[in-house]
C-alpha cells in the first residue's frame, strides 16, 4: 500500500521576503528550529505518513537544498524502489523549459506519473511548517469522492489578503475562491498549498492549463480558481493544527519565539512524529563555568561560556565568556567573540562577531533603507559568513550582506543601515 502513493514537493521557491536568509539558498533550505531546514517538516510528514516515493522540484539556487537532501538517507528515502528524486528544470524533451509557475512545474514533470500505479497524487509545498498525517487527507478525499482536495487553515481576519481564501458549503465542497482578496472575504479559510488530486484529473487539468496563454500556470492563481468556478469537485480539508508559512523575516523570527514558549505549537521531541534531518556529527553542548543560559534552545556542538537568553542556537555556535546573545537566532558555526552583544538579531551561518561589537543596538526603529517592507520591526540580519569588526556597533533593522569582511566597514552601521557584501558569482 505504501508504494502506491506519490508526492511532488515544490521546492523552487525564492522566498524573497526572507531577505538575506534566502539570498543564496532556496526557501525550503533555510535553517529552522536549531538544527532543521524548513523542508524537513514536509519530508518528515511524507515518511511519517508512510509515503516513501517523493519528487522534489527545484529551480532557484538548489545547491544547498540538494546537499541537504543528499541520498535521502535521514528520511529513509534512499530506497531501491521509490525514494527521493530531484526534479530539476531541463532541456531536450517536448515540455522542457524553466518552471513558470507551480502548476507549470508539475506539468513539466507529469511523466513521473506515467508508470506509477496510483489513483491520487499529492502536491506539497516544501516551505511550510506543520505536522500533518496525509492519511487523514487521503481519507477525506476518498470519503467526499473529491477530484481535488485543498488543505485549508483558519487565518486571522487581518491576514486574509496574504492567502488564497476558500469558501465552502456545509459539506466541505469549495464554492468560492479568491486569491489574496483586497476586501474582507466571507471566509477565513486559507489554502495551505497542500493539494491532493485524482491523478487522471490532474493530468487533464494541467494539459488544459498549459494551453492557455492568459494563465500564469500557478495552482493558487489559475488552476484552483478555474476548477472551483466550473465546480469540478474541489473540496477543502480543514486542517485543525498549527501551520505556518515562514515567508517573512518577522514570521520566521516569531516562529522561533513560539518554539521557546512553554507550550510550543510543534513538539519537536514527539517520538511518534520525529522531524528527520541530516545529523551533524557534533558532540553534546558544552556549558562552561560561569555561563548563564535561560529560555533557549541550543543544539549539539555549541560551546557556551557567556550569556544566552531567549535564543535559538544551531550546531557549532560559540559564545565565550563575556559574550551575550539575547532574543536572537544564531545559525551553525557562528562565533560571538568576547564582550560582544547580539540583541534581536538573526545571524546566518559562519558569522563572526568581533570582540566588543554590538549587533542590534539602540531603540531607533528606522526601517531598513533597502528593504523597508521586510525589515522594520527592529530585527537586524547578518548574512552568511559575514565578519563584523571588533568594537563595531550595528543598529536595528540593519542588513549586513553575506561574506562582508572587516574592510567593508568604514564606520558603525546606523539603524536601518545596509552593508552589501561581495556579489555572488551569479
Amino acid at each position: 500500500v505504501n508504494g502506491s502513493r506519490y508526492a511532488y514537493v515544490l521546492a523552487g521557491g525564492e522566498g524573497r521576503r526572507l531577505c538575506l536568509l534566502s539570498e543564496r539558498r532556496a526557501k525550503p533550505a533555510v535553517p529552522f528550529g536549531g538544527k532543521y531546514r524548513i523542508i524537513d517538516f514536509t519530508l518528515s510528514n511524507c515518511v511519517n505518513s508512510g509515503i516513501y516515493d517523493v519528487g522534489v522540484l527545484t529551480q532557484y539556487r538548489p545547491t544547498s537544498l540538494n546537499r541537504h537532501i543528499g541520498t535521502g538517507r535521514p528520511w529513509d528515502l534512499d530506497r531501491t524502489r521509490g525514494g527521493i528524486q530531484i526534479l530539476q528544470p531541463s532541456l531536450g524533451a517536448v515540455r522542457s523549459d524553466w518552471y513558470q509557475g507551480t502548476a507549470d512545474a508539475i506539468y513539466r514533470n507529469l511523466i513521473h506519473l506515467r508508470r506509477r500505479r496510483i489513483d491520487q497524487v499529492l502536491v506539497l509545498s516544501g516551505d511550510h511548517l506543520y505536522t500533518m498525517d496525509y492519511n487523514v487527507l487521503y481519507a477525506f478525499h476518498v470519503r467526499n469522492q473529491a477530484r481535488a482536495t485543498v488543505a485549508v487553515t483558519e487565518v486571522p481576519a487581518d491576514m486574509t489578503h496574504h492567502f488564497g481564501i476558500l469558501e465552502t458549503d456545509e459539506k466541505g465542497r469549495v464554492v468560492g475562491f479568491q486569491e489574496k482578496p483586497r476586501t474582507a472575504p466571507k471566509s477565513r479559510m486559507a489554502s495551505m498549498g497542500v493539494y491532493l488530486f485524482d491523478r487522471d484529473s490532474l493530468i487533464q487539468w494541467l494539459e488544459e492549463d498549459a494551453g492557455m496563454s492568459d494563465s500564469s500556470h500557478d495552482f493558487g492563481k489559475d488552476v484552483i480558481p478555474r476548477l472551483v468556478a466550473r465546480d469540478e469537485g474541489v473540496f477543502a480539508y480543514p486542517f485543525p493544527h498549527y501551520w505556518q508559512d515562514v515567508g517573512t523575516v518577522d514570521s520566521y523570527y516569531e516562529s522561533h519565539r513560539a518554539l521557546l514558549t512553554d507550550r510550543p505549537p510543534i513538539d519537536l521531541a514527539d517520538p511518534d512524529w520525529v522531524i528527520h534531518t541530516q545529523s551533524a556529527d557534533r558532540p553534546p553542548v558544552r556549558f562552561e563555568a560561569g555561563c548563564r543560559v535561560a529560555g533557549s534552545m541550543i543544539a549539539n556542538g555549541c560551546t557556551i561560556g557567556g550569556e544566552v537568553v531567549r535564543s535559538v542556537l544551531f550546531p557549532g555556535v560559540t559564545v565565550p565568556r563575556g559574550a551575550v546573545v539575547r532574543d536572537s537566532i544564531v545559525m551553525g558555526d557562528s562565533i560571538i567573540q568576547r564582550g560582544a552583544v547580539v540583541d534581536r538579531a538573526i545571524l546566518d551561518k559562519l558569522v563572526e562577531v568581533g570582540e566588543g561589537a554590538r549587533v542590534g543596538e539602540g531603540d531607533d526603529s528606522k526601517p531598513n533603507t533597502a528593504c523597508p517592507d521586510h525589515l522594520s520591526t527592529g530585527l537586524t540580519i547578518i548574512g552568511k559568513g559575514a565578519h563584523l569588526p571588533d568594537g563595531i556597533t550595528i543598529g536595528r533593522n540593519a542588513r549586513i550582506g553575506a561574506y562582508v569582511t572587516r574592510s567593508y566597514f568604514t564606520s558603525d552601521v546606523q539603524s536601518g543601515g545596509v552593508v552589501d557584501g561581495p556579489e555572488s558569482v551569479h
Binding site: 521531541a269 522531524i275 545529523s279
Partner: protein, 421 residues
C-alpha cells in the same frame, strides 16, 4: 594492503556493575551521546579499514541495536563492511568463547574467507583517536610479524597493563601481564596488528587468551614490535575510570577533545531536537546532549539525550544516561544513573552519610536501568540500585555501600498480569 579489524566486543563482566547488567561494555553510553564502541568504529572508518568484525557474547542486544547495518560509520557496504561474529554451534561443536584467542580461533574460517593480509585486533572498550594506518606503517617498516600499540604508563599503574620492555629498535623484548611492579615504562594497549599467517599458525594450538597464549610466546620468538602512541587513551572498562573519563570531558581543559572536524566521533543519530534550557535553569561545566530539557540546576555533569531535570532539581558531578528524569527538588550527586531511571521529587541520590562512610566505588552511587526511586527517598553514597528496582522496594534509606537488587522486567510483567487474573 587489505586489513581486517576484529573488535573484541564480547565483554561484560562485573567491572561496570549494573551498567553492564543488560549490555556489553562496548555498548555502554559515554560522553553524553556516544557508546564506547563508537570510538573504535570511528577510528576504523577514518583509517579506511573496510572490513570490521565484531565479536559478541555478553548481552549483545544493545550493541546490535546501536551498530545496526554499520551505517553511522559508513560500514554498510556491499562488500566488506561490518559483520557480527557471535558464539555458535555446529553438529560437532558448541562453544562459548573461553577467551580472546579462542574467539578468534572459532571464527578463523570467517576471517580466512575475507583473505586479509593482516588482522587488526581491537578492544571494543577504549576511548581514543588513532590512525591505524600509522600502526600499519610501523609494522611494515619493521617487517614485524606482530605490532603492538603501546603507551607510556605511570609506574604505579603497571598492574592494570601488559608491560613491555623494548629494545632500541622498538622490538618487544619481554611482555609481563599486569605485574605488581615493573621497570618497564610502556604498556600494551591491547591493540595488535598480526600478519595473517602468523596469527593463523598461532591459533592452531587452540590458545585461549590472546596475550598469554599467543603474544607472549611470539615475543619470545622475536618479531613482535611496538608502535608508540602518545595521544589520549583510556580503558573505560571499570566504574572508576568510566566515571573519571566522563567527568574529565567537563573539566576546563579536557584531555580528550570530543570535537575534531578531521576525525569526528561518529554515532547513531538519535534524531532529537536541540537542548531546551528553561528560564529557571542554571547550567555550568556540563555536557548536555540534544533532546534534554533542563529546568533545574546541572553542574559538572554529563547528560545523555532526552534527560529531563525538573525545576528545583540539582545534578552535580554525575553521569546521567538517556531518558532519565530527575524529579522536582531532587538532588543527584556523585552518581551514575543508567537510562530510563525515575528519580522521585525531593529524593536524594549519592547523599553523603558523614565521616565514616564506606566507599566501595570511590564513593560512587550507581543506579541501574529503569529503576524508580520514590519521592523523598534517600540513597546514600557508594550504594548500588539494581535495574528495574521499583518504588516499593525502598523500605528505608539505602545506606552507604549497600546494594538494592533490581527486578526483571519480564518477571514483573508476568507477575502483574498474573495478579490481574
Amino acid at each position: 594492503m587489505a586489513d581486517m579489524a576484529v573488535v573484541l566486543a564480547g565483554g561484560g563482566g562485573e567491572r561496570l556493575s549494573v551498567l553492564t547488567a543488560e549490555r556489553a561494555v562496548s555498548a555502554v553510553p559515554f560522553g553524553g551521546k556516544y557508546r564506547i564502541v563508537d570510538f573504535v568504529l570511528s577510528n576504523c572508518c577514518h583509517s579506511h579499514v573496510e572490513h570490521v568484525a565484531l565479536v559478541t557474547q555478553h548481552v549483545p542486544t544493545s550493541l546490535h541495536d546501536h551498530v545496526g547495518s554499520g551505517r553511522a560509520w559508513d560500514l554498510d557496504r556491499r562488500a566488506g563492511g561490518i559483520e557480527i561474529l557471535q558464539p555458535y554451534r555446529t553438529q560437532s561443536h558448541a562453544g562459548w568463547y573461553r577467551g580472546t584467542a579462542d574467539a578468534l580461533t572459532q571464527n578463523w574460517d570467517a576471517i580466512e574467507e575475507r583473505r586479509p593480509d593482516r588482522v587488526l585486533v581491537l578492544p571494543g572498550d577504549h576511548v581514543y583517536r588513532m590512525d591505524y594506518r600509522a600502526l600499519a606503517q610501523t609494522h611494515v617498516e619493521h617487517k614485524a610479524s606482530v605490532t603492538l600499540a603501546v603507551t607510556r604508563v605511570p609506574s604505579d599503574q603497571s598492574r592494570r597493563f601488559g608491560m613491555v620492555d623494548l629494545d632500541r629498535d622498538g622490538r618487544v623484548k619481554t611482555l609481563h601481564e599486569k605485574p605488581a611492579h615493573s621497570t618497564a615504562t610502556h604498556g600494551s594497549m591491547g591493540i595488535c596488528l598480526f600478519d595473517f599467517e602468523v596469527l593463523g599458525d598461532a591459533l592452531r594450538a587452540r590458545p585461549v587468551d590472546l596475550v598469554l597464549d599467543v603474544i607472549v610466546p611470539l615475543v619470545e620468538r622475536g618479531g613482535v614490535y611496538a608502535h608508540e602512541f602518545s595521544g589520549y587513551w583510556e580503558d573505560v572498562g571499570t566504574l572508576s575510570t568510566y566515571f573519571a573519563a566522563n567527568l574529565d570531558l567537563v573539566s576546563p581543559e579536557p584531555h580528550f577533545a570530543l570535537h575534531d572536524p578531521r576525525w569526528p566521533i561518529l554515532t547513531r543519530d538519535e534524531e532529537r531536537p536541540p537542548v531546551r534550557i528553561e528560564a529557571s535553569a542554571a547550567v555550568e561545566r556540563s555536557l548536555i546532549a540534544n533532546g534534554c530539557r533542563i529546568a533545574g540546576s546541572v553542574r559538572r555533569s554529563v547528560l545523555s539525550p532526552g534527560v529531563v531535570v525538573e525545576p528545583g532539581a540539582e545534578v552535580v558531578d554525575s553521569v546521567i544516561l538517556s531518558e532519565t528524569r530527575i524529579g522536582a527538588g531532587a538532588r543527584v550527586s556523585g552518581a551514575i544513573l543508567d537510562k530510563y531511571v525515575q528519580v522521585g521529587e525531593g529524593a536524594r541520590v549519592g547523599e553523603p552519610a558523614g565521616e565514616d562512610e564506606r566507599c566501595d566505588f570511590s564513593g560512587l552511587t550507581v543506579v541501574g536501568k529503569d529503576a524508580t526511586i520514590p519521592d523523598l527517598a534517600v540513597v546514600h553514597r557508594s550504594s548500588i540500585i539494581g535495574p528495574g528496582a521499583r518504588a516499593e522496594d525502598f523500605t528505608s534509606e539505602v545506606s552507604p555501600g549497600s546494594q538494592l537488587s533490581g527486578r526483571s522486567w519480564l518477571a514483573d510483567v508476568a507477575a502483574r498480569t498474573g495478579s490481574r487474573q
